[in-house]
Symmetry: C2
Subunit: 331 residues, 2 copies
């Protein structure tokens, strides 16, 4: 006999530009089965949906369950999402998906209720319900990786904004005359503090002859792009160039946190993403005091918590599971 909806597991999917990650998540928020596959967005929408469905089935098998045991599925996507209609409005990282009715396509293929939301929004929701933000109803999430994204939880609910575009905190201009961002504007915090920005500044230093461990580490690991792991290793070993560049990035993130607190007045700011995860607690430790300086309401400002994310790579997947449950009214 089928269990009640609220007790049945759901599947959360983290759909990114390079990989699809699916996880079966039980009612307690535990991942009980997982699978992974390349996205290959260059093959087109239909092929990606097919691969997503395969990854979901594989995750369900891994959990030793069958499709009938699953209550719903929710996928995140990197881009602007119309969550209500389940449509990916625009996703540059998925070879420019535009107005793709992902929820319907995926739901039909899997014969399950299906939902869609933005990846960093769901990462924030995941951290709020199952990670660092448990019990805190007003949370801003900031995720630092190749780019910088974010999400807002207001009064316990994900704030998507009017067009599903809220939480684009990486495109907060904090240095109007600063470097050009991928978006074309100058001085976005993404152009100052993302891994991409850090990489740009480190290479500029290396090319100018400043000593750094980075070229050696990358050669050893046979990497073309600077990974968060390589950054963390050089940082740990006291590489002066890496310390300076990351220090500057931390400063601008502190300014961003100050801005967000002054605008939204949340109780907690959670900082996650690949860079944060690789650098650990030290990373947030240097952001915190800068942010506090920039709070306009200094009174009670110590009560605004600025903390590291807890869920790592699984934040979006778990957030997707939470979102699916909430959409079913079983959250």
């Amino acid at each position: 006999m089928a269990k009640e909806t609220r007790d049945r597991p759901v599947v959360g999917i983290d759909l990114g530009g390079t990989k699809i990650l699916a996880g079966v998540v039980d009612a307690k928020g535990k991942i009980i089965g997982q699978a992974k596959r390349a996205t290959k967005p260059e093959d087109g929408v239909e092929a990606v949906i097919e691969r997503m469905a395969k990854t979901v089935r594989e995750a369900v098998n891994t959990a030793e369950l069958s499709s009938g045991d699953i209550a719903a599925v929710c996928s995140c996507a990197p881009g602007t999402i119309d969550a209500e209609r389940g449509v990916v409005r625009f996703a540059p990282n998925l070879h420019n998906w535009e107005n793709v009715p992902l929820a319907k396509l995926l739901g039909d293929k899997l014969d399950l209720p299906a939902f869609v939301e933005n990846d960093v929004n769901l990462g924030t929701l995941g951290e709020y319900v199952l990670g660092a933000g448990q019990g805190i109803d007003n949370v801003v999430g900031i995720f630092v990786g190749t780019g910088i994204g974010g999400g807002l939880i207001l009064d316990g609910k994900l704030w998507g904004g009017w067009r599903g575009g809220a939480g684009e905190v990486g495109h907060t201009v904090v240095l109007a005359e600063g470097p050009v961002c991928g978006c074309g504007s100058r001085g976005c915090v993404e152009a100052l503090a993302s891994r991409t920005a850090i990489e740009r500044d480190i290479w500029a230093g290396v090319k100018a002859g400043r000593p750094s461990l980075i070229p050696e580490i990358m050669q050893r690991d046979k990497r073309q792009r600077l990974t968060s792991g390589a950054l963390a290793e050089a940082f740990e070993k006291g590489d002066p160039l890496v310390r300076e560049v990351i220090g500057r990035a931390q400063f601008y993130l502190g300014v961003l946190v100050g801005n967000l607190v002054n605008i939204i007045d949340p109780q907690m700011v959670i900082i996650g993403g690949g860079v944060a995860e690789a650098l650990g607690e030290k990373y947030v430790e240097s952001i915190r005091p800068v942010a506090y300086q920039y709070f306009i309401n200094k009174r009670g400002s110590g009560d605004v918590q600025i903390v590291s994310a807890m869920l790592g790579d699984n934040a979006a997947l778990l957030g997707a599971a939470v979102h699916a449950r909430r959409q079913l009214g079983a959250g």
Copy 2:
């Protein structure tokens, strides 16, 4: 016989550092009686409350009503407000009021239900319900005067934040290495685009010998401080220094609007305050195209309206009336 609460007028009070403005507002949002008095915060809390009560009674008389006809009173205050408890947490412009239970003090004195909220929050609420934002449920208000403040309407409700400190949009850092702000930080938009910042830059130009109509206008009007009216006059007459300085301020306000849209994704941004009002539609016209440039979600970005406020000096007072009604459940 007493009318039903929803039909009875309320009194909105705009409590500022220099003046108290009280207005009797009917159920349709029309001001039917008004009174004004100096604040004189240097006389202390008790004296200010007494003056507020007098101003309210005078406004009620002007409306040819008596106290019993009034359903409630709501005052705004410049500072951090605990709206739920009716307490002014901290108001630097009121000679550093700290933890003043304004709602209780005023309510006892007038024998009426009394409420308190932040001034720019109420200005935004006023514009939303009775002004430029009618029918638009997600609105950001920006008010440019001596300083720069703001308010957020999310899903039709005033978003006060966790500590009642939300909407401090003037302390969004947009130029991290920019001029020092009154708050001590560098590069807040208030330090770049408020009337205070404009005044600073115009005097620097005048002192350096750049031609401007400003000294002449101020001498003629016997003014010590640069008013928004004087600015508007010089701007109208094509004063090159004033045009340059205001142009720069408009640029940074455009950046601010971009930031706020990227973070919150509202449907409308309303720009008001003394500077906006004096300069008229031309002011917002030059802010708009800058803001659009900075939107990260360009698709549908034209749908985000950037408009001038409509209620002028009465925005906060009318917002206070709306808030009183909503608190009574009659909104």
